[in-house]
Amino acid sequence: MPFKKLFLSGFRGLIILGLFFLILPANRSLASDGGHSLNLTRGKGVYERYCAGCHGVKGDGRGIYAEGLNPKPRDFTKGVFKWTGGPAGSMPSDLDLMMTISEGVNGTSMPAWRGIRESDRRYVVDYIKTFSPRFKNETPPRATFIYPPPPGTPDEIDKGKTVYEKNGCMACHGPKGRADGRSAGTLTDDWGDAILPANFSKGVFKTGKEEWKIYRSIANGLGGTPMPSFSDQLKPAEIWELVYYIQSLRD
């Protein structure tokens, strides 16, 4: 075969494959409702590729790879979430979900999904909201205001210790934050599973190192878990003192 022909036959093959390409996307964009169902279809695609193995095709937290995981992957059908902008038990905003999905949950099997395209992360947020009717019937409240942090002096850490001891944190988290408080072994979450209080000696926080997020966990509490909200009980300055104190408990 003459050399020129070889080049041509190579290109011909590519062009035929290329034509398939052009036909394909045309088929997949037949949505007529302003794109919403198309977006859900995309969200479903993302969910089934990356999430369903753990969270289950039906969103019930019983994916085929979920066995043996502790904590268990979230059951979305209950519509209960741990990390919300408002107090524990309220609905998470799209932004809250987006943050959890992008940054993952430290110390658990829930990965950080930054690698997934941002638009697709938004679509998967839309999609997981279809698993629970709560998202139709309720709206997320205003996010709890996070007061600007004080400087974090040793004095504040000391004060934090007192706040910690006076407000019952010890009962669950233990005197030194080692998850060995009196009631530590007795706790269960809203999904019916045993749950341990956070162990502060490890220095790993599920929401990452950012202090404002630790503040938020104390102020709001964590939905579906025994970790209560303290925003009514404690002043912002005291919550900050707690943040600094529990950070100091790291081994």
């Binding site: 075969m1 050399f3 070889l6 080049f7 036959s9 190579g10 290109f11 093959g13 590519l14 494959l17 290329g18 398939f20 390409f21 394909l24 996307p25 995309r42 969200g43 479903k44 695609g45 993302v46 969910y47 089934e48 590729r49 990356y50 193995g53 753990c54 085929i64 790879y65 979920a66 043996g68 995981l69 940054e103 993952g104 949950v105 430290n106 110390g107 658990t108 099997s109 829930m110 990965p111 950080a112 999904w113 930054r114 690698g115 997934i116 395209r117 941002e118 638009s119 697709d120 679509y123 998967v124 790993v204």
Partner: protein, 462 residues
């Protein structure tokens, strides 16, 4: 139309039809399975389709095989065994034209064999936070055991994703990884530009961008790996007697940027390699002595690449990929016949002979070439892949050679159907046809040589 083309076409069509007829209705359910197992993820969380990485897989790899959520069980707590294996039993039919033999100046040769692509034993993972490793041992059928990769990486130095250091034998961060190509035939799983040597066998420079290299890689990336850079100092394919000039390591560099839109994402990059190859040695008993190489002559490779990924992160439709590279080899690297050079001064005999090449080519060898590659996923279990590679010589070092001597072209068309891409294993049916032609490389008859390869196999890894 020649016989082999007709054969090729029939083969491909029969193959595709068989594929779809047989397997479209089966519904069995892709990281190294060892990573998939460890993280409770299917292969497809990190691979668009095994072995090609998607954005999540790239971010995972760039982060030192860590998910980034303080949950990367180190090797010490062996939850699952950190070993994987990959091979592909196959049937391989090959026809070659214009092969000079003792019996004829130009023979057609065909072979048909049952074969294995090789056997990769892989182990990789995290030794401790931000310290990861990879070992790939590839014992081939009757050849030596080859340590294909063995490196350790220190990630996120100074808590920054922009500083990661890898040391050991590793694949260069070339635009299209040859370890992650869909193709399994020799043309299908390699790219001409990475492995080309202008001047053919007369070129003493055996540097291959596609080879795994011994060296030190400094790389950095943005958190989502959309921006990446790599600086790599390495031996430049020099082993044994070629380990001549460790004083002048080979430098490879790459910079790339990724962009996302709803239905398409792009990555654009630049890459380059700059190195030297010795043209004279001291010898002992006639054999060049490692470390004595001198009269280093330069070569360079400079290229650019552009990748389009179609579809969303969840339902990829495929990719269209381009690369273009320009290469220059110093003329002295080509056409050398190694002869003793007594002119090299020996401070105090006996020094052994110093060898120096005869006058090489009279001018630089210059070539350029590229790749157009297309992947198409009609559904999440099927991949059709195709790539077309070419090399043109712009200037031969040896002016007695025709301008187009050893111009090359290759074309690969293949398909993979995944029976399994689960947390534990990957099984894919694989069919491929590849075509390779080199211009005027039968030096006796000055004919073009063409190789056709048909390959059907089952690729599996666990």
């Amino acid at each position: 139309m020649k016989k082999e083309t007709v054969m090729a076409k029939n083969f491909v069509f029969t193959f595709l039809i068989l594929f779809y007829a047989l397997f479209f209705h089966l519904t069995p359910a892709s990281a190294l399975p060892l990573f998939a197992k460890k993280y409770h993820l299917p292969c497809t969380a990190c691979h668009e389709a095994f072995p090609k990485l998607n954005d999540v897989g790239i971010a995972f790899k760039d982060n030192g095989y860590q998910m980034g959520t303080e949950n990367d069980t180190p090797l010490q707590n062996l939850v699952v065994s950190p070993f994987s294996l990959r091979t592909t039993p196959n049937v391989n039919v090959q026809t070659q034209t214009a092969v000079p033999t003792d019996q004829s100046n130009s023979d057609n040769i065909s072979t048909g064999t049952f074969n294995l692509t090789g056997l990769d034993f892989l182990s990789g993972g995290v030794l401790s936070k931000d310290i990861s490793y990879l070992l790939v041992i590839a014992p081939f059928l009757d050849a030596d055991v080859d340590m294909e990769a063995a490196w350790i990486r220190f990630s996120n130095l100074f808590d920054s994703s922009w500083l990661n250091i890898k040391i050991g034998k590793h694949e260069l961060e070339i635009p299209f990884s040859q370890k992650r190509a869909f193709g399994l035939t020799s043309s299908g799983n390699s790219y001409l530009v990475y492995n080309y040597h202008p001047g053919g066998p007369a070129n003493i420079n055996t540097f291959n961008l596609g080879d795994n290299q011994f060296g030190l890689e400094l790389m950095g990336h943005s958190q989502d790996s959309r921006i990446r850079y790599v600086l790599d100092l390495n031996n430049g394919s020099m082993e044994g007697s070629n380990q001549a000039q460790g004083k002048r390591p080979n430098l490879y560099a790459r910079l790339s940027f990724g962009f996302d839109q709803e239905n398409i994402s792009e990555r654009v990059g630049l890459f380059g390699d700059y190195g030297y190859w010795p043209t004279s040695y001291k010898t002992e008993g006639g054999t060049p002595l490692p470390g004595t190489g001198a009269n280093n002559k330069a070569f360079s490779r400079t290229g650019t690449d552009l990748i389009f990924n179609f579809g969303s992160s969840g339902t990829p439709l495929g990719s269209l990929m381009f690369q273009y590279m320009y290469g220059i080899d110093d003329g002295n690297l080509i056409g050398q016949t190694v002869i003793p050079d007594t002119a090299l001064t020996c401070p105090s005999p006996p020094c052994g002979n110093a060898f120096n090449g005869s006058a090489g080519g009279s001018q630089d060898a210059i070539f350029h070439g590229g790749t157009v590659e297309l992947h198409w996923m009609p559904n999440l279990k099927t991949v059709l892949f195709s790539h077309y590679d070419w090399i043109f010589n712009k200037q031969q070092a040896d002016i007695s050679l025709p301008d187009d001597y050893n111009d090359q072209a290759s074309f690969t068309l293949g398909s993979r159907y995944y029976l399994v891409q689960s947390q534990f294993s990957m099984v894919a049916l694989h069919g491929e046809w590849s075509y390779f032609a080199s211009k005027k490389t039968n030096l006796v008859t000055v004919e073009d040589q063409i190789t056709n390869t048909f390959f059907v196999g089952v690729d599996y890894a666990f």
